[in-house]
Each structure stands twice: as structure tokens, then as C-alpha cells.
Amino acid sequence: MMGLGARSDSPSPALRERAQSEWAFEMGTTKFWIASFVVGFVFLVLTRSFITNEYFFFAGYQVLQFIVLATAWNILGGYTGYTNFGTGAFFAVGAYTAVVLHKLTSLPVPVMMLAGGVISGIIGFGMGYLTLRLKGVFFAIATLALAIVAQTLIVNWDYVGGSRGIYIIRPQYAPIAGSYIQYLYSLMLALTWMSVAIARTIERSTLGLGFNAIRDDEQAAEAGGVPTLRLKLIATTLSGALMGMSGAPLPYYVTYLDPASSFNLSYAVNSVAMPMIGGMTSWIGPIIGAVLLGTIQQLATVTISSALNLLIVGVVLIVFVVIAPNGIVGLVQTRWRARIR
């Protein structure tokens, strides 16, 4: 993995002691990739063999997509400390990459996801490069501006439907057994596994420690030998790429794609809110936040109306900022530390 020297490769006695005291479930990076793959695969098999209601896969796709978005956001926002309000842009660029490829080629969706990831990664790199001097709120505003610029470009690009939007006709059959929505659900689950495993690998690596140093104090990080410029570019690129990958299957999921919905503010708000609620310092935080908020929003959409979604996110966010500013993970960690002391 990109030369990320995992910190837990050869556990010295001291490291083992740390493992036992701080994390009861400390696990090597390779083991985590395998274990999370097994968990994901079992989950996939179980859901696909026992659940017959199509709606489950429809809703499940949404929740998984939010896990990817929240995890990707957290690599830049949580680990590195740069708030990105442009999630919608990266996500939609991934989706529109797929639209272009759909019109030009008949590539399979996984390849389109890779392509969407590459394009969004390039945009992430560019955004990082242009905004590296900006910090805090100024960086956040620049990302918001990026989203608006990208949306304006798409609205004025007739080939991909412009502001009218575009209809995408799904292939009649899914390439693997089951319905097309089950296929997209499976792809999103695979991407979720990959994103989470990448995030977790970074967290335990030299790279992750460098990200944390940047978040805490950029000058001090630089004085400690951390190449802050390079690390920030890695974070913006990787974060953007994962967001783009999660956007690529969207045209097939919705079958009608337009700029207003693909650039929707709700992607940006959710991908900020989910890690904040779950906890931004750990890979598991965005998952908890995404499952919680994603499920609540699905329930609300079905029982009340999707119009309430952003209101719900807002209210939950305010509650958490007040009672648990470090998210659910932070809450648990504090208790844990208090107990072992």
C-alpha cells in the first residue's frame, strides 16, 4: 500500500502493552484487510440470500454510499483537519464520468468507478494544489466554490444533458446473478470495504500520523520534518478519488441524473455530519455516523418525507456538537480511558 509503513507491523513489548491498554481489538493492517473482507463478504452473501425485498438493496446502497462518502471525507477532514464542503462536486464528477463513458462505451460499471475515481482524484489534486495556502474557513469556502464551479460547468454541458438532466438506460441484466439493484448494492459494498480498509491503514501508518500532525499544528509538523505540502496533496487526492468512485454507479442507480440532484447540498452536509457524529479520529466513526444518519433518513423518507432529511441531519448534528463534540467514538474512548486509569 503506497509504502505506508504500518506502525503495528512488528509489535515490541511496549507496543503490545499499548494494544492491550488502549484498544482491546488492535489488529495488524493486513489482518484487518482480510477480516474486513470476510465480514463484508459474509454480509453480502447473507443479505443477498435471505432478503428478497428489493427495497432493502435500494436503501442499503444509499447507506453504503454514505459510508464511503463519510470515510473519504474523513481522510481529509478528520485525519488532516481540512474541512471540505465540496463533496457534492467530487461525487457528481464521478457520476458524470460514468455518464460520458456510458454514452461513448459499454464498459462495465466497476471500470467506470475506477475512471470516476481517477478523474475526481485529479480534481482533488488540483483543488489541493490551488488551495494549499488557505486554512480553516477559507479552505472550506474554496471547496464550496469548487462545487459551484463544477455544477455550472455540468449545467452548461449539453453532451451530458445540461440542466435538463439525462436518462440512463440500465443494461437489461446484471452481469452477476440477481437484479441490477442488487448488483449495484454489491459493488457499493465492495467499495465500502476498500474505503474503510484504506482509511484504517492510513490511520495506523506513518502517513496517518503525519496527517494528524498537520491537523494539530501545521508549523510544528513542518518543523518536525513532515512534508506538509505533499501529505495534504495525498489527502485531497485520495479523498476526492474515493468520493468520485462512489458517485460513478449513481446514474445506473437513479436512471435519471441531473445536476440539481447529483450536486445536491445534502451530500456535502451528510459527509461532514456523519464523521462528526460518529467520531473523526477513527475509521469506525464515519461508519457509525453514516449508518445512524443514513438509516434515520431512509426511515424518514419512507414514513414522512425526504424533505425532512436535512432538518434531521441538522438537529442530530446540533445535539452531538453539544453533548459529544468528539462524536460517539470520542464518548466511548473517554469512558474507556477513565476506566483503565
Binding site: 515490541s12 511496549a14 494528524n212 494539530d216 508549523q219 510544528a220 513542518e222 520534518g225 512534508p227
Partner: protein, 245 residues
């Protein structure tokens, strides 16, 4: 005479129309303990910032250990062996003391040619560094659990963790009590004995006078004195700057 480890010539820095530093010539010999003093706003911290790469100077040149530093980003200078501590401690607040020290070890020591420490060795070095400054029992604590003097010690330990040849200690003692100043001075003396050249930027004259083998005085962005501490403080220009006409 030994070859200087740091050679600064004609260094200048302006902020808009304000000239912060002008024509600074300065050499630091290897192994030296140099005191850098000057009234508030005289440019001491700006000089340190320019030398360590936090700021970039506008004119003149910096040679460290035979290499030109002009234009190099701060992290490269740290890797070359030029470390600094900050006037206001800047710990990595979300990381344990151990991880605070692990960063310079991973990013500086391990980035140098020929050195690669395994994670176990890094851990041992971090613990040894913490023990050196008397923070061994707080290795897993967060910086917020530290007192002011402990924070200064962490700041020094983190600078030293990068295994520097030259260390700028920027007001490492401001606001500390006399006994705490002694503690920090003892740490600095030990580091110097271990072979690290130290430039001490300080207001507390008693500490500077007892520590420095040479004193450089900055006033209004210019160097006005450079010599033994006794000579420097008796210099009429220095007296005028500190005491007025």
C-alpha cells in the same frame, strides 16, 4: 578556527514596508552555545523563522553545514539537522507525548539517508527522550495534561527527537519560575554536551548570561553586538537600546 556550522550573510526580511531584519551577518560555530537577545520586536523570532524555514527571507543567504538553505521548505531544513522549538509551545494536541516525539523520528530521522529505525527502536528512543526531560511517566498522556514547564520540555524533546546538529531554542523559559528555568537550562546544557550546537533566544538575562559562550544582540532588525557575554552587555549601543539614552 573551526568551520562554522551556520553562516548567515546579509539576511533581510521585510513585511510590506516594515523592515524586520536588515543585513544580518551571523556565524555559529559547531558545538557553541550562542545567546541571541534583543528588546521585544527586535526581530529575534523573525530571524529564527527565516533560518528554520517557517518564513522565507528576502535577501542574503544562509549556509548550513556547507549547504545553501535559501528557498528550502522547513521540513527539508529539519531533515538536514536544523531543529527549532517554538516560543509558544505547539504540541500535537490530539496525540500522546509518545506520538508527539514519534513524528520527528519517523519523518526526519527515518527520512535521512542510511537510517531506518524499526517501530520498536523508535518507541525506545521516544521513551529515552521523554526520560531525558523527566516526562517518562507521562508517555501516554495528552499534552493538555502537562504543566507549563512540562510543555516547554516536550517542545524541546520534540525538537531534539529529530537528532539535530543545531537547535534554536526560542524563548524556552519565558514565564517560568527560577527553579523551572534551572531545569530547562540543565536540559539545554546536557544537549550541548551531547554535541548539539544551541542558539538560545531569551529575554531572561540571568539564564542567557550563564548559558551562552557568545552573545549576539539584535535591535530593530539589525545586529548591534556580537561577542562574549560580558563584552556584549557592556557595549554602549546595547546599553542604549535596553536602558535608553
Amino acid at each position: 578556527m573551526a568551520v562554522p556550522i551556520l553562516d548567515v550573510s546579509g539576511l533581510g526580511k521585510r513585511f510590506g514596508g516594515f523592515v524586520a531584519l536588515e543585513g544580518i551577518d551571523l556565524t555559529v560555530e559547531a558545538g557553541e552555545r550562542l545567546g541571541l537577545i534583543g528588546p521585544n520586536g527586535s526581530g529575534k523570532s523573525t530571524l529564527v523563522n527565516c533560518l528554520s524555514g517557517t518564513l522565507h527571507h528576502d535577501s542574503g543567504g544562509i549556509t548550513f553545514d556547507g549547504r545553501r538553505l535559501d528557498g528550502l521548505p522547513a521540513f527539508r531544513r529539519t531533515r538536514l539537522g536544523l531543529a527549532r522549538s517554538f516560543q509558544l509551545p505547539k504540541p500535537f494536541r490530539s496525540l500522546s507525548l509518545l506520538d508527539n516525539l514519534r513524528i520527528p523520528l519517523l519523518y526526519t530521522v527515518n527520512a535521512r539517508h542510511g537510517a531506518h529505525l524499526a517501530s520498536g527502536e523508535i518507541e525506545e528512543r521516544c521513551r529515552a527522550l521523554l526520560a531525558d526531560v523527566g516526562l517518562a511517566d507521562k508517555a501516554r498522556r495528552l499534552p493538555r495534561d502537562l504543566t507549563q514547564v512540562e510543555m516547554r520540555k516536550l517542545e524541546l524533546a520534540r525538537a531534539v527527537a529529530s537528532a539535530p546538529r543545531l537547535l534554536f531554542a526560542d524563548e524556552a523559559m519565558a514565564g517560568l519560575s527560577p527553579s523551572e528555568i534551572e531545569e530547562i537550562l540543565a536540559v539545554l546544557f546536557r544537549l550541548n554536551e551531547a554535541g548539539i550546537t544551541i542558539v538560545l533566544i531569551e529575554h531572561i538575562m540571568r539564564a542567557v548570561m550563564s548559558f551562552s559562550t557568545r552573545l549576539v544582540v539584535l535591535v530593530a532588525g539589525q545586529k548591534i553586538a556580537d561577542g562574549t557575554p560580558q563584552e556584549a552587555i557592556r557595549d554602549p549601543e546595547v546599553e542604549r537600546a535596553y536602558l535608553g539614552e
